[in-house]
């Protein structure tokens, strides 16, 4: 390996990149844009859920219930219906996603010590959404129940409820979606930049017929590969730091563990991803082929890594497949370091898996890059 050749290849790649008007902007803007997009748009913590109310009681209790529903901006009473038909119509037209029916004589029946059933119509077309709505309704009703019981206890009319659950959220107490997403976004960005840009970088030489001139020189495959990969390693690192910083400033994403360990993790993952890019580009002949080739790697990575969908919820077969997805290990380790602040003693398994993945890919990349045309 002659360093001067590696340096020349890397310098050339950097110059091309710097003077390419589109690519440079993509590299600068894309990661932060993705972070903001995911941070704000992919929010599993719903607020301002539009609720239509059919309040047949209209007494002190029903008004308290509305206050409990609107607490923390969880629900917003957007309409008051006069009949169940109207309630249904409001949900049909998506003006409200929940309809709540409060029966007449609420106060009287509670005073009389009778149970009351509150009917709630929930738009169940999106299961995640429906689940959140149910949880929100139960919480509000639970709080109201507790107050009613407390009031009747003062009057000596009731006993406290036998069991009360008090869940305490660790690591991410506000259920801040961004905190959970940022490690994943770092993973996605690294995958994208590393795999796609590296893949394109080599195929571009093929497509513009430059590769033939290049392989007719004494340059060694290793020198070419390292020289090509170095600039993207630097860029991927810079982008990662940028995303971590924006995540910290804008979304208050915590960094509880060792930054050095996180950077080591990122380095490992980037190196492996770069190697994947080279493997793809060694087989693709055009940039379009390379893009589709990287998608074959990229899309399963995103869906099977546990970034959006918990691995625990997947069928057995798919769960087994996730063990082949390097992003899975990266996420496991990155969330561990950033959110839980744990170290290698806990995260040795995902780290070891990434070492194996990276070593395998580097070997494959070197083997697949030959200096012959056919």
């Amino acid at each position: 390996m002659r360093w001067s050749r590696v340096r020349a290849v890397a310098k050339k790649e950097m110059l091309e990149l710097r003077r390419d008007p589109i690519l440079l902007r993509v590299i600068r803007v894309l990661p932060v844009a993705m972070l903001l997009l995911f941070g704000y748009a992919v929010n599993f913590n719903l607020k301002h859920i539009p609720l239509a109310l059919l309040d047949r009681a209209d007494d002190r209790i029903s008004r308290t219930l509305v206050r409990e529903l609107e607490k923390d901006d969880k629900f917003e009473v957007v309409a008051r219906a006069e009949s169940e038909e109207e309630l249904k119509r409001l949900i049909d037209r998506q003006q409200a996603r929940v309809g709540l029916v409060v029966p007449a004589g609420l106060l009287e029946r509670i005073r009389a010590g009778k149970g009351v059933r509150l009917r709630a119509l929930v738009d169940g077309s999106d299961p995640t959404f429906a689940f959140q709505v149910q949880v929100g309704l139960q919480k509000a009703v639970g709080r109201l129940n507790a107050r009613l019981v407390a009031a009747r206890m003062l009057a000596g009319e009731a006993q406290p409820l036998p069991l009360a659950l008090e869940p305490e959220l660790l690591y991410n107490p506000e259920a801040n979606t961004a905190a959970f997403m940022v490690p994943g976004i770092v993973g996605i960005i690294l995958t994208q930049i590393a795999v796609i840009l590296t893949g394109l970088a080599i195929v571009r030489e093929k497509e513009t017929r430059m590769l033939e001139s290049l392989i007719a020189t004494p340059v060694r495959p290793g020198e070419l590969v390292v020289g090509k990969v170095l600039p993207y390693l630097v860029i991927a690192f810079a982008d990662t730091l940028l995303v971590l910083w924006v995540g910290y400033v804008v979304f208050a994403v915590p960094m509880r563990g060792s930054l050095v360990l996180l950077l080591l993790l990122i380095f490992l993952f980037v190196l492996g991803s770069l190697a994947v890019g080279i493997v793809v580009s060694a087989r693709a002949r055009t940039q379009i082929q390379a893009i589709f080739g990287t998608l074959v790697y990229y899309l399963p990575s995103i869906f099977l890594s546990g970034l959006f969908f918990p691995i625990e919820g997947m069928p057995r077969v798919l769960q087994a497949v996730t063990y082949l997805i390097p992003l899975r290990y990266f996420l496991e380790a990155a969330r561990g370091v950033m959110l839980r602040g744990v170290g290698l003693d806990v995260l040795y398994a995902p780290f070891a898996a990434l070492v194996v993945f990276t070593a395998l890919m580097l070997a494959l990349a070197t083997m697949s890059f030959r200096k012959r045309l056919l």
Partner: protein, 298 residues
């Protein structure tokens, strides 16, 4: 390999792509300081041949030594000793002329010798004035000039130049040939492919490639003399070559300016008011290919 004046020695080079026989058992030699022309129509196998000689394509059978190194057994040694200019001028458009040269030089040399080589190439190829222009902004002729300069920036003993003049205007073509001869004058051997007949006349020796086979080899004079021995060439006034084709003793006839050029069998009588002419490389080319096709039919 000192003292060996044969810089390229191709021995039965052959290359198949599936069922297609792109190059069929081609042998020839190129000597030190020689400009050797590989002449042939598009698809004749010129580029495949050059790729095998440059070590980027493995021959199916046969071998070649380039400056003493075998293209089959030691392609990387071959690559270190040659310069190769691909068919399309291979320059990075976003890089300046100087950066392109620096990049190529760094593949062969390092440190001060690499820098010197770049300055030297800028001077030899008269590229100093455009050194800081981006290669993508250059005209075709200047881009080709840069492509040549890149191929020989490290002063190789042998250079393979694949169609360096295709698509250039006559002045730019002449400039390219002058540059090739300037390099040859300092001892470099150049193998240049072309499908321009007149360019073959500029070479020391010419190999004619057709259908993947070498169908003629020699100096332009030798090739023309060989044709002159077997055919006679005349110019007759008129404007209808079709009139002549198919007549007894007439091999071929085509319009040239205000007259018709006819090629006759040696024993055919010369027509009235016909002016004898010398054969050109175009005649060599056309007649050799005609003979090849006739053989192929038999």
């Amino acid at each position: 390999m000192s003292g060996d004046r044969t810089k390229v020695r191709a021995k039965g080079l052959e290359r198949r792509f599936g069922h297609l026989l792109a190059v069929a058992g081609v042998s020839f030699e190129v000597y030190e300081g020689e400009v050797f022309g590989l002449l042939g129509p598009n698809g004749a196998g010129k580029t495949t041949l050059v790729r095998m000689l440059s070590g980027v394509l493995t021959p199916t059978t046969g071998d070649a030594t380039v400056d003493g190194a075998s293209v089959v057994r030691e392609p990387e040694r071959v690559k270190a000793r040659i310069g190769y200019a691909t068919q399309e001028a291979s320059v990075y458009p976003f890089l300046t002329v100087r950066e392109n040269l620096e990049f190529r030089a760094a593949m062969y040399l390092e440190g001060p010798p690499a820098l010197d080589a770049v300055e030297d190439a800028l001077a030899r190829f008269d590229l100093g004035g455009v050194a800081d222009r981006r290669a993508g902004e250059l005209s075709g002729g200047w881009r080709q000039r840069l492509s040549l300069a890149q191929a020989v920036v490290h002063r190789p003993r042998v250079a393979f130049l694949d169609e360096p003049t295709t698509g250039l205007d006559p002045l730019a073509r002449r400039a390219v040939w002058d540059l090739v001869y300037a390099e040859a004058a300092r001892g470099m051997s150049a193998l240049v492919t072309t499908h321009y007949m007149d360019e073959a006349e500029r070479c020391h020796r010419v190999g004619l490639i057709y259908g993947g086979r070498r169908v003629a080899l020699g100096t332009p004079q030798e090739l023309k003399a060989a044709v002159a021995a077997r055919y006679r060439f005349y110019r007759v006034p008129g404007a209808d070559p079709a009139d002549w084709r198919g007549r007894a003793g007439v091999v071929d006839a085509w319009q040239r300016g205000g007259a018709v050029r006819i090629v006759l069998e040696p024993d055919a009588p010369a027509p009235a008011n016909a002016t004898p002419e010398e054969p050109t490389m175009e005649d060599v080319f056309v007649l050799k290919i005609r003979e090849e096709d006739a053989h192929a039919l038999v």
